[in-house]
Symmetry: C2
Subunit: 272 residues, 2 copies
């Protein structure tokens, strides 16, 4: 892939996004983007992955939206947010997102889907037969099956991690064996076509791992640079080791009710 | 702040989010969260910051949503997404977000506001008198004035960076002097009550810097650990230095039309 191709491809992704946005809202006039779109169309190197991000009430939105940003930067890829109903989904931080498609109308012949995590909302999704059935249907056809944070518990409930290595948030990884999965303490775990990520912000590392698999290193370098993904946490406390035992203990205590409820369900509905 | 306080505070933030989400959607039943909420209410150490995230069409959503996640984890803080009209905002990656409040009904007596960046959408916002007037009104009362990516160009257009050190995405930082600002090549720049972040993913580092200023180190450590913010980019290319001259050059070429358009506006409407 030469420089001209790369340039045209990423440019087109932004032009396409600009066009979608322009249709949706009159303020979004973008003569530069639409001009470039037609100018460079003959250089496009297009792939047409269909990617489904599964949304559910009280999910942790950043699990889904970090990946949405990175994956939607792939020119030609269609990234859809699917939810049980067409109404806006409210996340566990109060964010309201409009789904692109409901479960019924969501395409099944897809390249990748991603299941985000959460706390009470995730447990509710694990217990919801329609969500689990939908995830199983996607898995029957999807080339890749992915999750972020406690989304791996939903994949597990659907029987999709049996015999696979997987990860989750450090607070929940010990539940993976109930689903027949082997927990690996890594930020992103790739085992055949299952790709699982650790907590929340790991979604961005997972998505860039996916971009690398689907589009290669040059493309990933451009997406990474454009997002200026050169993280510098002001306080290094993103893992139990760096946060220390006090902070880690507080979180464990804080979520003990949730853990007990979720673990009871996992034990009774596992695939171990 | 002792362990009990910390625990109760963060727990309450999640319980509050759970309650909001439950009201919005019947699937989101969370007996654990609401139980804990009442259980621990007597231990709450509450602050009541009001935070406004300014949304506009074709913004880069992750600029806003990374911070939304981190800031909404502060117990008692009210985090509002404000847009010109109540309709969903479509981002430059096609994400549709429902605003919490429109410009007219948005509170002005606030603690902090954040302006996200983008490309053509940001330039359109710079040229939109109503957006600039709204940002100036917020600035008149807000304790902190913040931006991510090219959001600093909007702050600059509103005359809010004159005499301040500031940052932006590496592709746009050279425009800051048109607004009387001194560019600093740092991920997060704090100059008195102006806090500006570099590109897109820098919003998370900026938000955690803000959490640290508003709630202190213990709180920041908990928010960081809960989000498992221990980033591990699969390819280190988040800065022009690590991405190398070829990738950097491609992006500069790709956005040359946007740069020319935006720079022409900045020159003619600056405060330098």
């Amino acid at each position: 892939m030469n420089r001209r191709h790369l340039m045209a491809s990423l440019l087109a992704a932004y032009a396409a996004a600009a066009t979608r946005a322009t249709k949706a809202n009159a303020l979004a006039t973008s003569p530069a983007a639409s001009h470039s779109h037609s100018d460079h169309s003959k250089y496009h190197e297009i792939k047409h992955e269909t990617i489904v991000l599964v949304a559910y009430p009280m999910m942790t939105a950043l699990d889904l939206l970090g990946p949405q940003h990175m994956l939607a930067s792939m020119m030609g890829a269609k990234v859809l947010i699917a939810a049980q109903t067409p109404e806006p989904i409210t996340s566990d931080t109060g964010l309201k997102i409009v789904p692109d498609v409901d479960f019924t109308h969501c395409p099944r012949e897809i390249d990748l889907f991603l299941v985000p995590g959460g706390l009470a909302g995730t447990t509710a999704a694990m217990k919801d037969p329609r969500t689990i059935a939908f995830v199983r249907e996607l898995a029957a056809h999807s080339k890749y099956i992915t999750s972020v944070w406690t989304g791996s518990l939903i994949l597990g409930t659907a029987g999709l991690l049996k015999g696979y290595k997987a990860t989750s948030h450090w607070i929940a990884s010990h539940m993976l064996p109930y689903f027949g999965a082997t927990p690996v303490a890594q930020r992103v775990v790739v085992d055949r076509n299952r790709i699982t990520g650790a907590g929340v912000t790991a979604g961005m590392d997972l998505a860039l791992t996916v971009v690398n698999m689907l589009r290669g290193e040059d493309y990933t370098r451009m997406v990474t640079l454009l997002a200026e993904y050169d993280p510098a946490p002001p306080i290094h406390a993103g893992s139990p080791d760096t946060a220390g035992p006090q902070t880690t203990g507080i979180l464990r205590d804080m979520f003990s009710d949730w853990l007990a409820d979720t673990e009871a369900f996992a034990k009774g509905n596992g695939h171990g």
